[in-house]
């Protein structure tokens, strides 16, 4: 699971009003090289909830992201490279995603989050 995906994921258990962002419990993190595409990153930037990305990156062991970001920063190649690394190159292979409201754990195995709910959660 990449942090781009994580930034989109939200706990959808019935009744939960604040299921985002999911807290990451990282057991195994892998770095995978992805081609740098500045235009793609600029298109993603407005979608990203920045604080969640920073916290997620830290839980995966990457602390180089600035705590805050504004759109003017996407003109900086240095910033974009860090954004690229955090968003696309860090992979959570094994671990869990934890709902901030209920504490429910969604397992991540072999890089795949399982977000299916149990019958009583639906």
């Amino acid at each position: 699971m990449r942090l781009l995906t994580h930034n989109m994921l939200s706990c959808n258990i019935k009744g939960v009003t604040n299921g985002f962002p999911l807290r990451i419990e990282a057991e195994k993190v892998v770095e995978k090289q992805v081609d740098f595409n500045a235009d793609f990153l600029k298109n993603m930037f407005p979608k990203i909830e920045w604080k969640a990305l920073v916290a997620a990156a830290k839980s995966m062991g990457y602390t180089d992201l600035p705590d805050q970001a504004e759109s003017s920063m996407i003109d900086s190649e240095e910033f974009l490279k860090k954004f690229h690394h955090a968003l696309l190159q860090l992979h959570l292979e094994e671990g869990a995603l934890i709902c901030p409201e209920t504490g429910r754990r969604f397992p991540v195995n072999k890089g795949i989050p399982n977000m299916l709910l149990h019958e009583d959660e639906v």
Binding site: M1, R2, L4, T5, N7, M8, L9, S10, C11, N12, K14, F20, N37, D39, F40, K42, N43, M44, K47, K110, G111, I112, P113, N114, M115, L116, L117, E119, V122
Partner: protein, 351 residues
């Protein structure tokens, strides 16, 4: 053979097959009134008519996001069992889907809900795809190919609203067994894309170009107990056969009449079991088939050397997709077409 029925069961599927059909054991008790009728019908001619009774909680109380039994048994478990074989047959990229994806702006984030074996993931190099499917075995196949995927339910996407640039739902909605679930899945697709984002949906059509296929499908007729299945304003009339069944007395003559009107209703037929033949050598690899055979969810076809599974389909009629979206206040239809026995629609999110 009639199986145990539920106290609040809503559906009786008349399983009309030329060959003996697998009987699914439902493990609860049905209302006495209908049960006695079922005995009568069954006594008459059980070689043509087997009754598949599904244990369904009253749908008016059941959340639209709860998976009905028929989907658990005849969609989820089947795909889990056949995943590698299914994936090996799914490689041809359908031109209409490919052209839709290629028409999207470069660097788009594209969400594929019900991505199956990930056939369309990564089709456009400059775009980023995130796929999800309810079948973990199929998602594993996607992940092995390097795609960004997760296991999730298309009726209840665990995604923040408006994150995606576009979404696709290719041959997915026809596996949802109620109109409300199909509507909900469409609402989810629109919800997860941004304002102005496009959504492509394709589903199998009633109007199949290859008519010989229909002979291999098993029609299911439903007895409508609740209006949940079809809304009151729906153009689809209640199946007259189902009403007849409830009032069938014990005479053979009336049973024959029932069979006649069954043939008529097949023309309006939209619910089917579509077989999947899993070759024996493939079936042995996963242990799932042994269980499926034991549970009656699959049968052996020694002539073809395959385990035969049934997949549930609600095939769509002309205009049905349009009707499903007509009530939506946050999307408009920008294109709709029929292609290769599929009804297709493109929506644009407006609010």
């Amino acid at each position: 053979m009639v199986v145990g029925l539920t106290r609040s069961s809503k559906y009786i599927y008349q399983y009309l097959g030329a060959s003996p059909s697998p009987i699914v054991a439902a493990d609860t008790v049905y209302r006495r009134k209908v049960f006695s009728t079922m005995r009568e019908a069954e006594a008459a001619d059980s070689s043509n008519l087997s009754t598949l009774v599904l244990n369904e909680e009253s749908l008016t109380h059941q959340s639209v996001t709860m998976t009905p039994e028929i989907e658990k048994k005849y969609v989820h478990r089947v795909y889990d069992a056949i995943a590698p074989h299914f994936s090996s047959t799914r490689f041809a990229k359908w031109p209409k889907v490919a052209s839709f994806l290629c028409s999207l702006p470069p660097n788009s984030l594209i969400l594929d809900a019900g991505c199956g074996n990930g056939k369309y993931l990564g089709l456009v190099p400059k775009c980023f795809f995130i796929g999800c499917d309810i079948s973990a075995p199929l998602i594993t196949i996607c992940a092995d190919r390097g795609h960004e995927v997760l296991v999730a339910d298309a009726v209840n996407l665990p995604y923040r609203t408006g994150f995606g640039d576009a979404a696709i739902s290719i041959a997915v909605l026809h596996h949802l067994s109620t109109e409300n679930r199909r509507k909900k899945a469409i609402e989810e697709l629109v919800r997860v894309v941004k304002m102005g984002g496009l959504v492509l949906i394709t589903v199998w059509a009633v109007e199949q170009e290859d008519g010989s296929l229909l002979h291999k499908w098993t029609p299911l007729t439903e007895k409508y107990v609740e209006e949940e299945w079809v809304g009151p304003s729906s153009p689809r009339v209640r199946d007259p056969f189902s009403f007849k069944l409830e009032s069938i007395p014990e005479s053979d003559e009336n049973i024959n009449l029932a069979s006649q009107s069954v043939k008529e209703t097949v023309r309006n037929q939209q619910e089917y079991f579509v077989p999947w033949h899993l070759p024996y050598h493939r079936a042995e690899v996963s242990g799932a088939s042994a269980c499926a055979l034991a549970n009656g969810l699959a049968r052996k076809d020694d002539k073809k050397g395959a385990v035969v599974y049934n997949r549930y389909y609600h095939v769509f009629s002309e205009g049905e997709l349009e009707r499903l979206v007509s009530g939506m206040d946050n999307a408009i239809i920008v294109d709709q077409f029929f292609d290769k026995s599929n009804w297709c629609i493109v929506l644009k999110k407006t609010l």
